[in-house]
């Protein structure tokens, strides 16, 4: 209680920096407990070793790191995860952008209805939504039947990379749309009108005015979706059919099936590094846009 009252009461006597420090303290503590401590634990676990039986050997060594980093499968996993996540992110962006633009331009009750429709999937767990996709994509599902009605042989839409990409794209779309919307603050229809009166075709207007103005939203949405995609494992597990190998699913297998916690921890740390890289890229992109 006291810490909360403090900044207000003593604000006059405190420098703004000190006030900011006090206000940041609670979240810093929460972060330390909720994020830093688990990460430190993970790091510690990655320095242990594991016996073939899965038994944990309590030690401090870089053996697990060495094994993981020299294993061609790990490198394949990293490449795969980055590639698949980037592709999904791009697809999500392309699919979400028009929706976000439309939402941005709509108003009143209609906008509220649309927003609720966009957010509603977030109220359902990704597991449930993934099962929904199984029903739609299975070989007796909606899409297959629809194609069959036109006499087309349905391709395999699920239990492979296609299924994972479809499922994750849909699951990530609400996040992308919300991120895009939050970044569309600078987009005002008058800029487009100005471009049109200056002789720009709608396409030119889009490239020269709309796209640059929405770039911050796109960067944010891509960062968010990339991070979510690379760390998602429920959907790849359910829709991948054991054919799609990603870092997150491998971490799950190592931690839950093979019981190799040090390897799981090491792979988790690698994911964390990828997050860091994504964040750095985002920051750089943002600086270039601004």
């Amino acid at each position: 209680m006291n810490t909360l009252a403090l900044p207000a009461r003593e604000a006059r006597g405190m420098s703004p920096a000190a006030v900011a420090m006090w206000l940041l303290l609670p979240i810093a503590l929460v972060n330390a407990v909720g994020f830093l401590w688990p990460v430190v634990n993970l790091l510690r676990m990655s320095l242990n070793e594991s016996e073939a039986t899965g038994a944990l050997i309590d030690t401090v060594s870089l053996a697990t790191w060495r094994n993981v980093l020299t294993d061609s499968f790990t490198l394949e996993l990293i490449g795969n995860s980055i590639g698949v996540s980037l592709f999904i992110t791009l697809l999500t962006l392309v699919a979400s952008y028009p929706i976000a633009i439309y939402l941005h331009r709509s108003s009143g009750l209609w906008r509220t209805v649309l927003l609720v429709l966009v957010i509603a999937p977030l109220l359902t767990s990704a597991v449930v939504r993934t099962y929904g996709w199984i029903a739609i994509l299975s070989n007796q599902g909606l899409v297959a039947n629809l194609l069959a009605a036109f006499g087309l042989a349905p391709p395999r839409l699920m239990f492979n990379l296609t299924g994972v990409v479809i499922g994750l794209t849909e699951i990530l779309m609400p996040y992308m749309i919300l991120a895009l919307l939050s970044g569309f603050g600078r987009l005002d229809p008058r800029y487009e009108e100005a471009a049109l009166t200056l002789g720009a075709t709608p396409l030119k207007t889009f490239w020269r005015v709309v796209l640059p103005l929405t770039a911050p939203g796109m960067a944010l949405g891509c960062l968010l979706c990339f991070v979510l995609a690379i760390s998602s494992f429920v959907t790849p597990k359910l829709l991948g059919g054991g054919r799609v190998f990603l870092l997150a699913t491998e971490i799950y297998d190592q931690a839950i099936v093979t019981l190799n916690w040090p390897v799981a921890a090491t792979l988790s740390m690698i994911v964390l590094v990828l997050f860091g890289a994504a964040l750095a890229l985002y920051t750089r992109a943002l600086r270039r846009i601004a």
Partner: protein, 347 residues
């Protein structure tokens, strides 16, 4: 992290609940959740408590052996569980980590009556259930029980086969069975013949990760053939009204062993040993086999003929012996071959 928090909360709640009860001691049994919990509580835990009114048993369910090991690791300093039922390979890891006390005739006299396969060298616990791999089939689509595992390779079954793939041990089991059938000798040295057979099945496989369990797509007709564990297959056979059936093909099957383990320094003390001994007794073994069709590990258990028909006991000649502990050491290399040869064939 969260599971240990949940566990702590659960145990706190249990502590509060059990305070008013007359029981002098209370123990916690950690085991599989879902069907296993339901049936095991009815067949073993409740009769045990009736026979031992002074002992209160709490069943703490977890979805997998690995989750159980995770919990035990987290509470190594101050264990909350007393008895754990888990897969033998995981039990070996736990043994190596000194999480368990050795169970033998001295603290559980019924161990004396167990089948030799239930006493595993270098594992602290002993076998409490035997299960075996079965071929699952949808009885509406397949009229005759498939004679061979290789029925899964038939062109007619394209996209209709579901197999829990490696690293799941059902996939490992299938590789071992097919390895032997194709002239392989020592699965610890070389499983290439089993892998080769799997590459023939692979193109037909719909998914290597059937969810939530392999039995569901077979029951619904989403898939037609599959590989799964006998006990659950039998229960699913009953609950689906016969839509799913199980068979042991000519190539044979392998046993999966669940062990019962005594947690080192568990809070329950002697009561835990009493429970372990009861769980291994002929009556408990009979009750659980008749309830969920795991084969008994106690030689003296008198199983009803109907229940016996649903276990592998009559087909002991078809069971290929597997040393799960030794197998764990080559698991990684089998997984590697699986990824390099089987999966590419199933794309």
């Amino acid at each position: 992290m969260t599971t240990s928090v949940k566990l702590a909360a659960a145990i706190l709640a249990l502590g509060l609940l059990t305070q008013g009860v007359r029981a002098q001691s209370s123990i916690t049994v950690m085991g599989y959740s879902g069907l296993f919990q339901e049936r095991y509580t009815k067949a073993v835990v409740e009769p045990f408590m009736r026979a031992h009114p002074d002992i209160q048993v709490t069943y703490f369910p977890l979805p997998s052996s690995a989750a159980m090991l995770g919990n035990l690791r987290a509470q190594k300093a101050a264990p909350q569980a007393d008895v754990v039922i888990m897969d033998v390979s995981v039990s070996k890891a736990g043994t190596d980590e000194k999480l368990f006390d050795k169970i033998d005739e001295s603290n559980a006299p019924n161990v004396r009556d167990l089948y030799p396969a239930a006493r595993i060298p270098d594992v602290a616990g002993v076998g409490v259930t035997f299960d075996n791999l079965v071929m699952l089939y949808n009885a509406e689509a397949v009229k005759e029980p498939p004679a061979s595992w290789m029925a899964m390779a038939d062109k007619a079954n394209e996209g209709k086969v579901v197999i829990p793939g490696i690293p799941d041990i059902q996939g490992v089991s299938l590789v071992i069975i097919l390895n032997k059938a194709n002239g392989g000798t020592d699965y610890l040295k070389d499983v290439s013949k089993g892998i080769a057979a799997m590459t023939e099945i692979a193109p037909n496989v719909q998914t290597w990760e059937p969810k939530p369990e392999v039995y569901v797509p077979i029951v619904t007709g989403q898939a037609v053939l599959g590989a799964g564990w006998n006990a659950r297959a039998q229960v699913n056979n009953q609950t689906s009204g016969g839509k799913l059936k199980a068979a042991i093909p000519q190539e044979g099957t392998v046993f999966q062993i669940n062990t019962i383990n005594l947690v080192a320094n568990g809070p329950g003390g002697e009561a835990a040993k009493t429970f372990v001994n009861y769980a291994l007794s002929p009556e408990a073994q009979k009750a659980f086999t008749e309830s969920m069709f795991y084969a008994p590990t106690n030689t003296k258990a008198q199983i009803s003929p109907e229940a016996l028909d649903r276990t592998a006991v009559k087909f002991m000649d078809k069971v290929i012996p597997v040393d799960w502990i030794a197998l764990a050491k080559v698991r990684e290399s089998i997984g590697e071959q699986w990824r390099r040869r089987v999966l590419p064939a199933s794309r």
